[in-house]
Amino acid sequence: MKLNLVYFAWLKQSIGMGSEAVDTPANVATVNQLRDWLRSKGGGHGEAFGKDAVLRAAVNKAIVSDDHALQDGDEVAFFPPFTGG
């Protein structure tokens, strides 16, 4: 399925880009599976998603859990916990 991915904070620096369009294989149906697939790509993705660090996800700009089912055309964002205020 086609997804638009968005990254923030150190994740963006680690991967080397703020956003990208991807076409995922059929076995990627949830946020967790997407994360595993991105880690398996290696390089900056492998490093960023392989770290032992808390990462949160949002789909279409709303926070979701790891087992959230993805839909074709979704905007999926990955980021560390918020530090505003």
């Binding site: 968005v6 808390v54 949002a58 964002a77 560390p80 918020f82 530090t83 505003g84 205020g85």
Partner: protein, 150 residues
């Protein structure tokens, strides 16, 4: 009302405009967050606030709606800045107008605690040891957890 902007804000003007003309208001409380020059033992020369345009506004609107549901508020304002800031600069303003001070204090405290853990902002500090992303603090989670519905 919520605003996300790069520009500074005038606290006096913002408070004067809050609920202007509404004679039911008996109390206005506010919180202003500033950039400190010391963070976890390092000197901070500058701070850059990144955010998630679109989601930030939606999250702040949800936070305001949650406060209005919990307390009888006459007006609410959240202004949060993004971009590059320096020590002493204002980061965020939360202001609440209500009929009585109890609600106004509680709602203001709630709003800033909730905002810290629920609005998509990330701080990048420039220190003498280089740049580093600020890590979320468990204190902030605990502060937000105090407001969880029992």
């Amino acid at each position: 009302m919520i605003r996300v902007q790069a520009e500074d804000f005038d606290v006096g003007a913002e408070l004067a405009a809050l609920g202007r003309g509404n004679k039911k208001i008996g109390a206005v409380t506010s919180f202003v967050g500033l950039v400190r020059d010391l963070s976890d033992g390092s000197d901070v020369a500058a701070m850059t606030l990144e955010h998630y345009p679109g989601m930030t506004e939606a999250a702040l609107r949800d936070i305001e709606a949650e406060a209005r549901q919990r307390w009888q508020l006459e007006d609410v304002l959240i202004v949060h800045r993004h971009g590059k800031l320096e020590p002493g600069d204002r980061i965020v303003l939360v202001a609440v107008a209500s009929s009585h001070r109890g609600m106004a204090f509680d709602a203001c405290h709630f709003l800033i605690d909730w905002l810290k853990t629920k609005a998509p902002f990330w701080k990048l500090e420039a220190t003498s040891q280089g740049e580093r992303w600020v890590e979320a603090k468990s204190d902030d989670d605990q502060a937000a957890a105090r407001w969880a519905k029992k």
